[in-house]
């Protein structure tokens, strides 16, 4: 019983889809026109100034996130180098403050 119901539903859905499909032929040269527009868009991008191409890159989420991740990594690496220098200065200043009651000299 259940199997028959399922088969009936599928047949009904197929019928509905067939009836919903737009009828009538596509205009003449529709496919060619679509390809032409795609080519024009690509040509326009290729001949655009560098900053427009850069903007195109940022529109794509995958590239935008990759760039941000790279920037974060570079920032962290710079921070580590700077942190090492700061830590030396912090440790030195701590020692000088402990042993010299006169620093900074009043």
């Amino acid at each position: 019983m259940k199997g028959n119901h399922g088969r009936d539903d599928t047949a009904g859905l197929s019928e509905l889809l067939r009836s919903a499909r737009p009828e009538g032929p596509l205009p003449d040269g529709f496919g060619a026109s679509v390809w032409r527009r795609i080519e024009q868009s690509e040509e326009a991008t290729a001949s655009a100034p560098w900053w427009v191409r850069l903007a195109w890159m940022w529109v794509e989420p995958r590239r935008a996130f990759a760039t941000l991740a790279l920037v974060s990594l570079l920032g962290a690496a710079t921070g580590l180098v700077q942190g090492w220098q700061w830590s030396e200065r912090l440790a030195r200043d701590r020692y000088v403050t402990v042993v010299s009651p006169l620093s900074p000299w009043p």
């Binding site: 991008t45 655009a48 900053w51 427009v52 850069l54 903007a55 195109w56 940022w58 529109v59 935008a64 760039t67 941000l68 920037v71 974060s72 570079l74 920032g75 962290a76 710079t78 921070g79 580590l80 700077q82 942190g83 090492w84 700061w86 830590s87 030396e88 912090l90 440790a91 030195r92 701590r94 020692y95 000088v96 402990v98 042993v99 010299s100 009651p101 006169l102 620093s103 900074p104 000299w105 009043p106």
Partner: protein, 166 residues
């Protein structure tokens, strides 16, 4: 793409990237500096900077621990004398002979404190290998007396400049 929209996208991207770079760099620098500076250890810098071994460090640690109470005592005496001077100045509303005497006493205390500090630096430098000891002593002189000497030098230059004008 419309050039105006492209310009906006590039501007936002550059601002975002630069901001993110500096934010990450600063945050990482602060975290790593705090971690690597060993806040609990006063002598961590000495050990690293002058490449000291275990034996030298234990000698220096003993000297350091012996010097700290002396240093604290000088600090307390100088602070008490300064408080006395400030009190005298505010009480009298002018520069009295007593205030002048207190200034001299304060200067004498500072001089004695400086002598004790330099003696300690010398002892510590002698506990190090000769080259490192010399470097330590020079560095400590620069760090503790350098700023004072720079001020004096600037004053001397200024006064010589005035004489030249005359």
């Amino acid at each position: 793409m419309n050039t105006r929209i492209a310009a906006w996208i590039v501007t936002c991207a550059v601002v975002l990237s630069v901001g993110l770079f500096f934010l990450t760099a600063r945050w990482t620098a602060r975290l790593s500096a705090e971690r690597w500076s060993h806040p609990q250890e006063d002598l961590a810098w000495l050990r690293r900077e002058f490449r000291l071994g275990q034996e030298e460090m234990s000698r220096i640690r003993r000297l350091h621990e012996g010097y700290l109470p002396v240093c604290r005592e000088w600090c307390a005496r100088i602070a008490a004398k300064k408080a006395e001077l400030e009190s005298e100045l505010s009480r009298s509303g002018g520069f009295t002979p007593r205030a002048a005497e207190l200034v001299r006493e304060l200067a004498a205390l500072r001089a004695e404190c400086q002598v004790a500090m330099l003696r300690h630096f010398e002892e510590v430098s002698q506990a190090m290998p000769p080259d490192q000891g010399r470097r330590y002593f020079a560095e400590m002189l620069r760090l503790t007396l350098g700023t004072h000497e720079a001020t004096e030098r600037a004053m001397a230059l200024e006064s010589s400049g005035v004489h030249e004008h005359r």
